[in-house]
Symmetry: C2
Subunit: 124 residues, 2 copies
């Protein structure tokens, strides 16, 4: 399953990069220059996640947000940072703080999803 370069992929990644924050499918569809099908956007985003380009965060509004990975490949501590979801401007941003946790022996953690919801600096 070798990846191919397409205008769609470039356009989607460009929008997220320019936004400088995590985006949901509908926000991407709204901002993107060319017309891309909804299902295709999801497929592109999920492929980026598989490739370690993006990571997926599930916010309390029940939507998936996709954020650029920053050094996610090097260590497997990858997306284990907090995220902040603003209920006013609806944006989700990655916080620099790493998530520290400890779990009882015998538990295998495969993924971490930590979202703080509230009002961000700009909106308060």
């Amino acid at each position: 399953m070798k990846r191919r370069n397409t205008p769609t992929k470039e356009a989607v990644l460009s929008v997220i990069t320019k936004a400088g924050q995590a985006m949901s499918q509908d926000a991407i569809e709204e901002k993107v220059a060319i017309d891309i099908n909804r299902a295709t956007i999801y497929r592109v985003l999920n492929r980026f996640c598989d490739d370690g380009v993006l990571h997926k965060v599930l916010a309390e509004d029940g939507k998936q947000y996709f954020a650029l990975c920053d050094g996610c490949d090097e260590t497997h501590q990858e997306h284990q940072h907090f995220h902040f979801k603003c209920t006013v401007c609806e944006t989700l941003e990655c916080l620099p703080n790493a998530v520290n946790y400890s779990i009882p022996a015998g538990y295998q953690v495969e993924n971490v999803n930590c979202v703080l919801t509230g009002v961000c600096k700009k909106c308060s």
Copy 2:
């Protein structure tokens, strides 16, 4: 809006209590003794959340899980503990660990949703 005692409420709460872990609507509907409408279960659960009896956790499978509150009223640090969602047995449990985070000044946190996903002790 004074609450009333109904068989439905008792049955739902009983199932969650006996399970000893957080449950989703469909799991409750499956386990509950009497026949309760799907919408009603959601309304009962949300009412319990409003009353501080349960708290709601959004897992990575996109579903809401409802867990018993343990001393949630006393402090507002209430549901700020980690949760563990097992991908094998599909259960979600509250971990004793509190979530420690720090955010930049100017941010107002209203809710915390932290879920670790993986394989629990029993299933591994």
